[in-house]
């Protein structure tokens, strides 16, 4: 498919939509996802557009739906399974129905929720009252029960049991009062202390902890409560006690005078609680029923309302023509999809029962069309990585198909572990195989969504890591010995090189490849497993890995530079090939390509025999730039001459890169073939010459400033140069 290589060809199209069927046509276009609309009313405020009231209606519906969905989630009702069906946006006549239903549901739900809350509050009060009665009974009869329930006070036990009796207190004329209720566990000590200080010991407080914890309706937390009973005498003390209880947010309940009253109250409370529980139960069932019924259609409504809102937004972008009967829209459409576009409009006109069908009209345009690159579920991840660096221009070569392999490969070069790579690949494979069910669930967890969206990327990275792990011979940081190592220790013991005595006297010994039989041959696949056990493992590995990075980096950069040729050829700017591509490539290859050559040459030409004479490539490279030499042994005969030549060529490329193209374009605009300044005659010729350069920056202006040309060109060669120098510095 050609459209993977570069972005698709687009054309500007005018759509003439009849007002009646405009909604349906755009709905059809939206379902197919073909076109990009241009805003034909850019100067109009968003509050003054045509379809603002419809959009307001949609947002109101979205609000109600949001409330509905929250309630459904709170009640833990399951999402309907068949999420594959994507509903189409409803026609305007159905919208009012949906709106009415939603409003009715909202009113009903809020009423039921309010009632339920009231009932629950009532139930809580009654339950607390029951507990309080039960526990204060034990206070009053504490003597007979023999239980230690908090601080022991002397009880006035005769007051309760003796209905006709008068105690010493009553003879004094003081009236004994009781205040009872519940208070939070954490406040009890402060409450007690406050009572003692304020009432100066004229009150008696008994309290006991409530066994079960009750949920506080206002805050929703579960807290332990303590039942208390305050006995006091005197009215003023009573008022003070009341105020203190208010201050500590206690729930107060009337204390019964005697046992029979207590028993009566408890009975009535029990029946009331039972009734309340029944009613609550029924209410909850009813609420659940309503939500269940709503959940069947709520999710489709959400999608439908969203689509409707989108359609009205698009309709706002169109403009009405003079007769006010026809909507005009300007869209960018891929050339390959023009027939689909026509089909969609016909379908929309048919659905909207239009008398006059809508039609399309292709118009020429000088604007740069948008870049369209079609992706499937596999390539979309890589495309988004590429777009993170920037979206390409119209019809430029797209780097995405190469990124599918190079990105995971470069990751694997850095990761390089067989065991961990397999774990990664298995995880990604599991995500890929179960992707349908994960897509339906649509989790809220951001980290999981990130991993899931990149499942194909992770799979590729894992697979390549397995390969590079095999080459680095690294499996959970241990080496595998599949083919047999190329280094032989036994050979060092023959020829009397080593003996048992050498082993005993030296802790570290180095194998010498010059001794025959020690080095049998290179390990056929990857790094030799003996290096895993060597102490100087990093000396070898570092040198290997840095050289490898240089080679891979230079090849990758050259590949990128070569890709630009396709752009130059496509946009018919052949001069770019000579003024941009060639100098870039020459600069890159003369310096860093030569470095790669030196690396490979040193690997092939220098062995163990002449290891003492093997020169350092780094020193050679630096000397090449400084044009010094002579201290180091040359790698090969004629090296200095070749290096001087390469440096000169590279240095000559730099001015060509910097000012070659601006000078050439300036020269073009000034006179074409010659440098004469005969203005009159040349204006005619210049017009025809302008057709040659299609790049929009240069097309219109005749008096092209030299500085404009310079600034438009300058960034690229600097980037290439800094990139190459940076890479080589890191690697060396």
């Amino acid at each position: 498919m050609g459209s993977v290589f570069r972005s698709e060809e687009m054309c500007l199209v005018q759509l003439f939509l009849q007002s009646g069927s405009a909604y349906d046509c755009i709905s059809e276009l939206g379902e197919m996802g073909l076109v990009e609309f241009r805003d034909l009313n850019p100067s109009v405020n968003s509050f003054q557009r045509r379809f603002v009231s419809e959009i307001k209606r949609c947002e109101e519906m979205e609000r109600i739906l949001g409330y509905l969905l929250r309630e459904i989630r709170k009640a833990n009702i399951a999402v309907p399974e068949d999420d594959e069906i994507c509903p189409v946006a409803p026609p305007p006549k159905h919208v009012l129905e949906i709106m009415e239903q939603l409003q009715r549901l909202e009113v009903e739900l809020s009423e039921v929720a309010r009632n339920k809350e009231k009932l629950q509050r009532n139930l809580l009060e009654l339950t607390e009252y029951t507990h309080m009665l039960r526990i204060t009974r034990t206070f009053v009869h504490s003597r007979s029960r023999n239980k230690a329930l908090g601080p022991q006070y002397e009880e006035f036990q005769s007051i309760e049991s003796d209905s006709a009796g008068c105690t010493g207190m009553q003879r004094l004329g003081a009236k004994l009062g009781f205040v009872s209720g519940l208070i939070h566990r954490v406040k009890v000590e402060a409450f007690e202390r406050m009572l003692w200080r304020v009432c100066k010991g004229y009150t008696i407080l008994s309290y006991a902890e409530l066994g079960e914890s009750l949920a506080d309706l206002d805050t929703g937390e579960i807290s332990t409560n303590v039942v208390f009973l305050i006995s006091f005498w005197g009215d003023q003390i009573g008022q003070k006690v009341q105020k203190i209880c208010d201050c500590y947010h206690c729930h107060l309940y009337p204390h019964p005078e005697n046992d029979e009253e207590r028993a009566d109250v408890m009975d009535s409370l029990r029946t009331r609680i039972q009734d309340l529980n029944n009613v609550l139960h029924r209410t909850e069932e009813y609420l659940r029923q309503v939500l269940q019924k709503a959940s069947e259609s709520a999710f489709t409504w959400v999608v439908q309302v969203k689509k409707m809102k989108a359609i009205y937004h698009i309709l706002n972008l169109c403009s009405f023509d003079v007769t006010n009967k026809c909507l005009i829209a300007e869209v960018w459409c891929p050339v390959n999809d023009l027939t689909n576009l026509r089909g969609a409009l016909e379908e929309g006109s048919r659905k909207g029962d239009a008398t006059v069908p809508s039609f399309v009209n292709r118009i020429p345009s000088n604007d740069t069309p948008p870049t369209l690159l079609r992706t499937n579920k596999f390539t979309s991840g890589f495309q988004s990585i590429v777009e993170a660096y920037g979206v390409g221009d119209y019809r430029e070569v797209s780097p995405a198909p190469y990124t599918i392999i190079t990105f995971p490969f470069l990751f694997a070069v850095m990761f390089g572990d067989l065991g961990h790579g397999m774990v990664m690949a298995c995880f990604a494979l599991w995500m890929v195989l179960t992707e349908k069910s994960h897509k339906r669930k649509r989790s809220d967890n951001e980290i999981w969504t990130m991993f899931f969206e990149g499942r194909y990327i992770i799979l590729m990275m894992g697979l390549f890591s397995v390969y590079t792990g095999l080459i680095y011979n690294d499996c959970f940081s241990k080496s595998l010995n599949i083919f047999g190592s190329g280094w032989s220790v036994r050979a060092m013991f023959t020829d009397q090189q080593w003996t048992n005595e050498t082993l005993q006297t030296n802790t570290l010994l180095i194998l010498d490849p010059n001794v025959s039989g020690v080095f049998v041959g290179p390990y056929p696949f990857g790094i030799d497993p003996i290096w895993n056990m060597a102490v100087n493992r990093l000396s070898f590995l570092n040198s290997y890995k840095m050289k490898m990075s240089v080679i891979i980096g230079v090849m990758h950069m050259s590949f990128g530079v070569v890709l630009s040729v396709f752009n130059h050829l496509h946009f018919k700017q052949r001069f770019n090939i000579y003024l941009l591509f060639l100098p870039e490539l020459l600069f890159l290859l003369c310096l860093f390509g030569y470095l790669v050559f030196m690396i490979i040459y040193k690997w092939l030409a220098f062995g163990a025999r002449d290891s003492r004479l093997a020169p350092s490539i780094l020193i050679h490279f630096i000397n090449m730039f400084l044009m010094q030499g002579g201290d180091n042994t040359p790698l090969y005969p004629g090296q200095t001459g070749l290096q001087v030549f390469l440096v000169v060529v590279a240095l000559l490329c730099v001015p060509v890169l910097l000012i070659g193209k601006p000078v050439y374009l300036y020269w073009l605009h000034r006179g074409g073939k010659s440098l004469r300044l005969r203005r009159g005659y040349e204006r005619v010729r210049r017009v025809s010459e302008d057709d040659m350069s299609q790049a929009p920056a240069y097309a219109d202006d005749e008096e092209e400033g030299f500085d404009d040309l310079m600034t438009s060109r300058d960034t690229q060669p600097k980037e290439v140069k800094t990139a190459t120098v940076h890479t080589s510095h890191i690697n060396i």
Binding site: V4, I510, V535
Partner: protein, 96 residues
């Protein structure tokens, strides 16, 4: 294969190493050559053919290059591994 032998004659190397270099070299070149050069012709025509062919060729080039660098770096080692004496003692008895 013959070209390889000629190329090898240019550089000084022990003979045993030459053989153990030639066999993996030819096997890997053949393997990645088939994946990168032959399999693309057999991919059926469809909307994804371009992507799949690009992927195959790039994979072949990258993986072959990576393996080649690994084996070239070890072809003529300038120094050997430095081992502890108990490792050497173990390897003397247990490694071939």
């Amino acid at each position: 294969m013959r070209l390889l032998f000629l190329l090898l004659k240019l550089f000084p190397k022990p003979d045993m190493a030459a053989l153990s270099f030639v066999i993996p070299m030819s096997v890997m070149t053949l393997f990645w050559g088939i994946i990168g050069g032959v399999v693309p012709w057999f991919i059926p025509k469809g909307p994804n053919r371009g992507v799949i062919v690009t992927m195959l060729v790039l994979t072949a080039v990258c993986c072959y290059l990576f393996w080649l660098i690994a084996i070239l770096a070890q072809l003529n080692p300038l120094f050997g591994p430095s081992l502890k004496n108990d490792t050497i003692w173990y390897m003397y008895y247990h490694w071939p």
